[in-house]
């Protein structure tokens, strides 16, 4: 139906997460129409990301060259480590401007049904890090879903004997949300995590 190169492009785009056959077609035809230099910029960006992006050897965040920006930043507090599932979660935490410590990226969460156990995650690397560095607190910042909670519980049990402070991000209601629409689990945890109000 299409020329071979066009079909190849549609197929490749269709492999991207969240892209169905229809969207792949639409994107391919869009690229067909754009100016050559625009299309070239995209191919260059893809090549650059593959050639120059590595994983930080300390925290496994995406990095360009050796250490990632977080680990290279000497103003950050290396005694505080925030454990996340994915490099994108670092971006989310950074946006809060509330955290000035360092990170550790697991690259996933425990999911026994999918066969993802501790060995498939950067857990051993976290242990090694705790062994060497002067880390005093580990913040478990995995997603508040079944897999993320299981991962946090697993890590808490694993790290407890090491004598560092282990904390879990609080679970609660979204700011701007309506109480009446909150699900029972979220509301229950929010109530449990209530705190005193300074008058």
């Amino acid at each position: 139906m299409y020329t071979a190169p066009l079909q190849a492009l549609i197929d490749e785009l269709g492999r991207l997460p969240g892209v169905g056959p229809k969207s792949a077609q639409r994107m391919a035809f869009h690229l067909l129409k754009v100016a050559p230099e625009d299309a070239l910029r995209l191919t260059e960006a893809i090549t650059a990301v593959k050639e120059r992006t590595t994983l930080c050897p300390v925290c496994f965040n995406v990095a360009e060259g050796d250490l990632c920006d977080m680990c290279a930043d000497t103003r950050r507090d290396p005694s505080l480590v925030c454990v996340v599932e994915d490099p994108r979660d670092i971006v989310a935490v950074e946006k809060t401007q509330e955290f000035r410590g360092c990170y550790h990226v697991l690259h996933g969460a425990l999911n026994p049904i999918e066969g993802i156990g501790p060995d498939q995650l950067r857990v051993r690397e976290l242990l090694t890090r705790l062994d060497g560095d002067a880390i005093t607190e580990v913040i478990l910042c995995t997603n508040p879903n079944l897999e993320g909670e299981a991962t946090a519980m697993y890590l808490a049990r694993l790290l407890r004997p090491l004598g560092v402070r282990i904390t879990r991000i609080a679970s609660g209601l979204p700011v701007g949300g309506d109480l009446e629409y909150a699900d029972e689990l979220t509301l229950g945890r929010a109530l449990e995590g209530r705190r005193d109000v300074e008058a």
Binding site: P112, G115, P144, Y154, R157, T186
Partner: protein, 238 residues
């Protein structure tokens, strides 16, 4: 499209697009259902944590050709004590995985559904060491594939029975022995679970005996499904 209501347990979820998920639910009246929960990954989603795996929910869905669409979800039981205990959540994962394998889309199996809800309630109440083994064996029995334990499955002799083989489908005497060995206590416990002694079996403590029976039940289920049980093999609580 038609609208329907049912009760179910969320077995697993899969990301779809930017903010949606496909949830797989085993229901009382519609068998295994796969439905799209729109916007569920957004912080302000009306579904919130209601459609997380393990949740026991009352659902309202539009029936679609391939996928249904969830329009409403009300939590009947979130099994919070299970969720917040690594040992229990690990057991629950195995129940969900097995039910996902056995339940079929478009085939109602209320008994399977009831068994799952019942087992999760027990687990929510307390961390029962033999829960997984009992569930697997009872499910095999419901599927007509319970292991034969009354006599040697090969020659019919009364015993003593010393081995257990999945291919033969039961226990074996010393002269027919193949498969794995089984202790007399393990065999007695298996018989109790399958033979009406379930409630007392659920009181058995954790330990080598419970581990032996759990391993045996898992192997029997794997042989029945002709597939490895990933949650048993990658047990983070173990």
């Amino acid at each position: 499209m038609t609208l329907y209501r049912d009760e179910g347990v969320v077995l697993r979820t899969m990301r779809l697009g930017e903010a949606d998920r496909i949830v797989t639910v085993v229901t009382r009246g519609h068998g295994k259902v796969r439905a799209v929960a729109k916007g569920v990954r957004k912080t302000k989603s009306k579904f919130g944590g209601r459609l997380e795996p393990l949740s026991h929910v009352a659902l309202q869905c539009w029936a679609g050709r391939e996928l249904d669409i969830v329009t409403e979800a009300v939590v009947l039981d979130a099994f919070r004590s299970v969720r917040e205990d690594l040992s229990r959540v690990t057991k629950a994962y195995t129940l969900l995985e097995v039910v996902d394998q056995v339940a079929q889309e478009g085939h109602r199996n209320p008994r399977l559904y009831e068994m799952l809800v019942g087992a999760l309630k027990v687990l929510d109440d307390q961390d029962v060491p033999l829960l997984v083994a009992s569930f697997l064996l009872k499910m095999l029995a419901a599927e007509g594939s319970a292991p034969f334990l009354e006599a040697c499955v090969s020659c019919g002799s009364a015993g003593p029975l010393v081995a257990f083989d999945q291919v033969e489908g039961g226990a074996l005497c010393a002269s027919c022995r193949r498969g794995r060995s089984v202790s007399p206590e393990g065999l007695a416990l298996l018989r109790r679970i399958l033979g009406g002694g379930l409630s007392s079996a659920l009181l058995e403590p954790a330990g080598p005996l419970a581990d032996e029976v759990t391993e045996l039940a898992a192997e029997a289920m794997e042989a029945h499904l002709d597939r490895r049980l990933r949650s048993v093999r990658s047990n983070p609580a173990g």
